[in-house]
């Protein structure tokens, strides 16, 4: 069973969102997503200062099986991207919620987080996808 930490928010496109104290969020892909993709060989992170809209493709994760877009779960401005992933994309596999983070976004609207799923709802989504 996938690891779905209860203190995070989730998008249906399998990104996780952690609320930081300063009005920013950290974004990565869920343990379920990294497991479905398999061993990552490349991650393209977004440019810093880029403005992104919720649902917009902003990063790419490429595994031996497939290349997939990562979508911005919220609208805002990219303020940081994980430079470590350039040489070590496997961090997303080994530590999806920690060192495998992809970007940090400054929110346009702090309430936007309310639109996202909590851990229970996300867990239900991936269970349904598994049985579907």
């Amino acid at each position: 069973m996938s690891n779905v930490p209860s203190d995070l928010k989730y998008a249906s496109s399998h990104e996780w969102v952690r609320q930081d104290d300063d009005g920013t969020v950290t974004v990565g892909i869920s343990d379920h997503a990294q497991d479905a993709l398999g061993d990552l060989v490349f991650v393209e992170t977004p440019e810093i200062d880029r403005t992104v809209e919720a649902g917009e493709a902003v990063a790419v994760v490429e595994s031996v099986k497939a290349a997939s877009d990562v979508y911005a779960p919220v609208s805002g401005t990219v303020i940081d991207a994980n430079a470590q992933l350039q040489d070590a994309p496997e961090l997303v596999n080994t530590d999806a919620y920690g060192e495998g983070w992809i970007m940090r976004i400054k929110l346009d609207d702090p309430d936007a987080l309310e639109e996202l799923m909590d851990a229970d709802a996300y867990e239900q989504l991936i269970t349904e996808e598994d049985d579907g």
């Binding site: 479905a36 061993d39 060989v41 490349f42 493709a57 490429e62 031996v64 099986k65 497939a66 290349a67 997939s68 877009d69 994309p89 496997e90 996808e129 598994d130």
Partner: protein, 488 residues
């Protein structure tokens, strides 16, 4: 099978193949000194027999349609009739110089002209250009024409191309190469495009939509006319990706479905050699709206004389896509193939490729494999999901694919389309016999039995190939294709 050494490692100083050596030393006097080598080129020093054996052994390691069943989904690995090859190799074709005047190449130009006409008719388009030298270039040409159309009308607010999530990866790549943003729309549970999502996505910013029909989930898009009306009413155009044309050849025409431009993979549907990177041929079919932007060169006809049409004839063309006449040798093979099939033969291609796919799908389903979209009739290909096997037996689609190689079958396309977990996309084509299809079903059943008894055995496959299971992560991250032998 043992691993073949590099030809450099077979050599020993002083060995050479006399028959292939130049008769005398070439005179280098007229080559300026700065262009001459400072050091001798590093060449393998081998005997003629060593060369013959080396390359014969390598060719025997090839896994090809000439040796084995090759059900690689969305690739249409059908038999390439020998006649196409031998006729395209006639000396009149082979020895023709690309700069020779049109008047001395009327036979060659006539073949290409007639191929254009046949392709236009079977796809329902106004004209065809044979210039693009690969499917991806054909796609690029199509979307570049859509762009030229909007630009010519001063309609510059159209910034998006709509692409379904089941599309081939080249579709979004093409849209981006042509300067568009990609708007992805989901596939509905029944395998068709999600109409509600499409309605929401279409607007004044829509330049066009790229569709494959039958789609990459192996079913015919039933609401295609509704989609065409919706996109056209919003001012967008429709691009048809010809990857799956085999299923509908002679049965239904993309032009009649409402498409404005299509590309045809001649190396798939028209049976020219395919695999190992080419050479391909991505002929492009052009509808009424895009006629002024047809790519060049194109063969024209005037009073029974064939000639190359250029910028002079098509001033608003998107431009020249090949220096000469496209991949001429491939085009000639496609021409012979089309002529041998004739109108009725083309219809039989669609019928038998669809029959074979549905037969194989039904048999695999009866053996307990999970068919994706079981309620739909397959087109020329279909999907099975090995999610159940992965969960219960711990053996994935990738493991099945590797073990199939041992049993004499090329693996189907694995893990594509992305929206189906643990999937194999299987396309048997029309040229396989029922015995070969039954053999494949038996191989799948055998692998599942093996997995039940000894999962690790299947996970260790392949065993009978020149190489064992490769380290795919290392291959992707540390790609190294350069031979680094000692320089002499």
């Amino acid at each position: 099978m043992s691993q073949e050494s590099l030809i450099f490692d077979l050599g020993r100083s002083g060995r050479y193949a006399r028959a292939q050596a130049p008769a005398e030393h070439a005179d280098l006097a007229d080559i300026p000194a700065e262009f001459r080598r400072k050091q001798r080129a590093v060449m393998p020093e081998v005997s003629e027999l060593q060369v013959v054996r080396h390359y014969t052994r390598l060719s025997q390691k090839n896994f090809s349609i000439d040796t084995n069943f090759y059900p690689l989904g969305s690739c249409t690995m059908k038999y390439n009739p020998r006649a196409c090859n031998s006729l395209a190799m006639l000396p009149g074709f082979l020895d023709r110089h690309p700069h020779a005047p049109d008047s001395t190449g009327q036979g060659f130009l006539g073949c290409l002209y007639n191929l254009q006409e046949m392709l236009a008719e079977v796809t329902g388009m106004k004209t065809v250009s044979l210039a693009p030298m690969a499917g991806a270039q054909g796609e690029f040409a199509g979307v570049a024409m859509i762009r030229a159309y909007h630009d010519a009308r001063g309609d510059d607010g159209r910034t998006e191309i709509i692409v379904p999530d089941a599309a081939h990866g080249t579709n979004p790549a093409t849209a981006v190469m042509c300067g568009y943003k990609v708007r992805e729309i989901p596939t509905a549970a029944d395998g068709d495009v999600d109409m509600a999502a499409l309605q929401e996505a279409v607007g004044p910013q829509t330049a066009g939509i790229m569709l494959t029909n039958p789609s990459t989930v192996g079913v015919f898009e039933r609401r295609i006319q509704e989609i065409a009306t919706l996109v056209h009413e919003a001012g967008g155009l429709l691009y048809y990706d010809g990857a799956n044309l085999n299923a509908i050849l002679g049965k239904v025409r993309p032009g009649d479905m409402g498409f404005d431009v299509i590309h045809i993979n001649l190396h798939k549907t028209f049976s020219t050699p395919h695999g190992g990177g080419g050479p391909g041929a991505g002929a492009i079919g052009v509808g009424e709206r895009l006629l002024p932007h047809t790519p060049i060169p194109q063969v024209g006809e005037d009073n029974g004389q064939y000639y190359w049409r250029t910028e002079k004839d098509i001033p608003q063309t998107i431009g020249r896509l090949s220096a000469f006449g496209g991949n001429a040798g491939v085009l000639l093979r496609a021409y012979v193939y089309a002529r041998m099939l004739g109108r009725e033969g083309m219809t039989r291609v669609a019928e038998y490729s669809t029959l074979n796919a549905n037969y194989l799908m039904t048999r695999l389903k009866a053996e307990g494999f999970q068919v994706w979209l079981p309620e739909r009739r397959a087109s020329h290909e279909f999907i099975i999901s090995l999610k159940g096997e992965a969960k219960e037996l711990g053996v994935t689609a990738g493991d099945f694919a590797k073990r199939l190689l041992d049993l004499g079958y090329h693996a189907p396309t694995a893990y594509f389309p992305l929206l189906v977990p643990e999937c194999l996309l299987i396309e048997p084509t029309e040229t396989e016999t029922v015995d070969d299809l039954d053999g494949f079903v038996q191989a799948m059943v055998t692998i599942r039995e093996e997995a039940r008894h000894d999962k690790e055995f299947v996970k260790g496959a392949p065993y009978n190939m020149p190489v064992r299971r490769l380290d795919e992560v290392k291959a992707a991250k540390e790609l190294d294709l350069k031979w680094q032998g000692e320089a002499s």
